[in-house]
């Protein structure tokens, strides 16, 4: 049974469209990632689904309830963690947790088993004001608070933004455990590398969903040849490659350049072409696409379509 359903949801702020025709369905016990850059409309979608904002068009159902008509039921069943740290900074860790337990009509003890794994990490700091915690700890506490009433659905808006790499990995491990307990999780993130940790992902850009699939399927379906090119002169190489006939796109990727081609070519051809233009390449390797490659490819397609 689908726990979160969005049907053709659209929303604009004055004249600026934030979301256009968003539709998806999230199954029970699924970890669903909403992947997109800042200002893609992720938070707006969260606010609509958590009944904080009304959509201009379209319907939505969360835990079997309509997001407008039965918003009171939904509010009992969801856990929401906004993108901004939104706990009481002057209350201690423990006080925050018991406060949120109380407003949901429960106690820490009752649902302790659900938050135990996370809370043990916070335990040493339980008397510290929430505002003085580190970024990762804050997010863990916020997750605890969102979980304390045993929600059926979790909405996590950019939980790993501003969190260090180690804490991010830990955080995703926690989400995996929660998922195994049967909680449907909708999580948004601007980090493409986190996408593979989700069961399914929706790539979102400028208020439109580009693609919905499992990350593995998405990668398997990517059919353009892709090369990672290592060079010392990234800028010059880029401009040379972009003039080449076989190039579909050439984008800098850290210390590499990722090149997708319109026709099948072999690594030596690329090397030879660039060498003709006076630049020596250190390495050209055919690689498998990452979610980021797919995202960039899809948003390029979207742009060319809209032009």
């Amino acid at each position: 049974m689908a726990v979160i359903v969005a049907e053709h949801i659209s929303k604009s702020y004055k004249d600026v469209p934030a979301l256009t025709d968003i539709s998806f369905a999230i199954e029970n016990g699924e970890l669903f990632g909403l992947i997109g850059p800042d200002s893609a409309g992720k938070s707006t979608l969260f606010r609509i689904l958590t009944t904080l904002l009304l959509a201009d068009h379209g319907q939505g159902y969360v835990a079997g309830h309509h997001i407008v008509d039965e918003y009171k039921e939904i509010r009992k069943k969801v856990g929401y963690m906004p993108g901004r740290f939104s706990l009481y900074q002057d209350l201690s860790v423990e006080e925050n947790l018991s406060f949120f337990a109380t407003i949901f009509g429960t106690t820490i003890k009752e649902n302790y088993n659900l938050v135990r794994d996370i809370y043990v990490q916070l335990e040493p700091f339980k008397d510290r004001p929430a505002g003085k915690l580190s970024g990762g700890m804050k997010q863990k506490l916020a997750l605890c608070c969102a979980l304390i009433h045993k929600p059926e659905v979790l909405f996590l808006d950019e939980p790993t933004t501003g969190v260090d790499a180690v804490s991010r990995v830990e955080f995703w491990d926690m989400l995996k455990k929660l998922k195994e307990k049967g909680i449907a999780i909708l999580v948004s993130t601007p980090y493409m590398d986190e996408a593979t940790r989700c069961d399914r992902i929706a790539l979102i850009q400028k208020g439109k969903i580009l693609s919905i699939d499992s990350p593995q399927q998405m990668i398997a379906h990517f059919n353009k040849p892709l090369f990672a090119i290592k060079t010392r002169k990234i800028y010059q190489t880029l401009s040379v490659l972009r003039r080449a006939d076989f190039t579909y796109s050439a984008l800098p990727f850290g210390e590499y350049i990722h090149l997708t081609t319109t026709q099948p070519v072999v690594a030596s051809e690329i090397k030879a072409y660039v060498a003709d233009n006076g630049i020596a390449l250190e390495a050209v390797l055919p690689i498998e696409a990452s979610v980021e490659d797919i995202f960039l490819d899809l948003s390029k397609t979207l742009e060319t379509q809209s032009l």
């Binding site: 929401y80 906004p82 939104s86 949901f104």
Partner: protein, 383 residues
């Protein structure tokens, strides 16, 4: 660029950029000053002048006290007497006084004060007429409502001047020289102690600060920090959230009111002639007005600063100036009087003075209480 987002949240993107750009330009200007002959120096100086203006206030004194309107009763012991009637006409001729009732005995006097319809009572002695012709000294008593000392003083001065005027006029007609002595009495506040106005006024203001300002601030704070969002997603109904925010301040306001009353009674010797229970009961509608004003402000504002400015400018200043607490409302230009009528504090101070100083019961102040309750209804409908 620090880890925490450190731009001005309430400025738009463009405003932020302009702000920091100007800041950098100032630095640039400073550097340029060290090297004269720069091409931009003059232009940046102009720019600096424009921005450094900041907030400049110009306060102009309003031409106040231009008219004192004092409804007055006349206790005329020298009834049906031509010269006392003349005196009464003379008092009215200025336009500052209007005749309310001609009283027959001293007992009726207080009723007008308690109802608030009378501000001044002129007591004309029985043998006014004969004394006038015989050239004997006459003593006329002026009784005012001392629970509003500012107003009472002004009225006394006006009336005394008018009486002396009357004497001058009579002197031209009659040859007999006589003196009019004015004996004034301040009812309810014989020593004209300022504490008598300040205690009720302070109660009214502090209740307003606690109820309206703190409430609006605390709700705006929740909004600013984002905690409001989480609370809204919880099963708590929004009304309950607001109530939960507001109740502590209501309790605090009541405690404050009691504290000020006690201080007033023991330290400043301000009596509470009326019923204390009624007094506290009357705080209720006022506290409700304050709380609903506070929530109204907080729903309209997005940041604490905005909430604070709007409650300061929109509530505290007018309540301080236009409620009749510091300056008598009746001597203000009509438009300000009208605004004063819209301010809840005006009514509440009336109620407090009525109960504390004049010892009146509910039947004399029910209009004010009803006005306050009406305000609560209107404000709640708006929020």
């Amino acid at each position: 660029m620090s880890q925490k987002f450190s731009l001005y949240n309430d400025l738009t993107v463009g405003q932020n950029i302009r702000f920091f750009w100007r800041y950098l330009w100032f630095k640039h200007e400073k550097d340029q000053r060290k090297n004269p002959g720069d091409p931009y120096g003059a232009r940046s100086a102009i720019c600096g002048q424009k921005t450094s203006g900041g907030l400049a206030f110009r306060m102009e004194t309003t031409p106040g006290f231009c008219s004192v309107y004092g409804p007055h009763d006349v206790l005329d012991y020298a009834k049906d007497n031509s010269s006392s009637t003349q005196l009464i006409y003379h008092l009215q001729s200025s336009g500052h006084f209007t005749l309310n009732t001609v009283l027959s005995s001293e007992k009726e006097m207080e009723k007008g004060f308690k109802e608030g319809t009378t501000k001044l009572v002129v007591v004309i002695p029985e043998d006014f007429d004969s004394d006038l012709y015989n050239g004997q000294d006459i003593t006329i008593q002026l009784i005012t409502d001392g629970s509003d000392p500012n107003n009472a003083n002004t009225l006394l001065q006006y009336a005394t001047t008018m009486l002396n005027d009357f004497r001058q006029e009579q002197l031209q007609k009659e040859s007999s020289p006589f003196q009019i002595q004015v004996e004034s009495r301040m009812l309810y506040n014989p020593q004209l102690a300022s504490a008598y106005t300040f205690i009720p006024g302070t109660i009214a203001l502090i209740l307003l600060i606690v109820c309206a300002m703190l409430t609006s601030l605390t709700i705006a704070r929740e909004k600013e920090l984002g905690t409001m969002e989480i609370l809204l997603v919880s099963p708590l109904p929004p009304l309950l959230i607001i109530l939960g925010k507001v109740t502590p301040y209501a309790v605090l306001a009541f405690l404050d009111a009691v504290l000020i009353l006690l201080l007033g009674y023991f330290v400043f010797k301000v009596p509470v002639l009326g019923s204390v229970v009624l007094l506290l009961f009357c705080c209720l509608p006022y506290v409700l007005v304050g709380l609903s004003l506070g929530t109204l402000i907080s729903t309209r504002s997005t940041s604490q600063q905005q909430a604070m400015m709007s409650s300061l400018m929109g509530l505290m200043m007018p309540s301080l100036i236009l409620s009749g607490f510091l300056f008598p409302l009746s001597s203000m230009p009509r438009i300000l009087q009208f605004i004063g009528q819209l301010i809840p504090t005006t009514y509440f101070i009336e109620i407090l003075k009525g109960i504390m100083l004049r010892g009146v019961g509910l039947q004399f102040i029910y209009i004010e209480v009803l006005v306050l309750l009406g305000m609560v209804m209107i404000l709640l409908a708006f929020t």
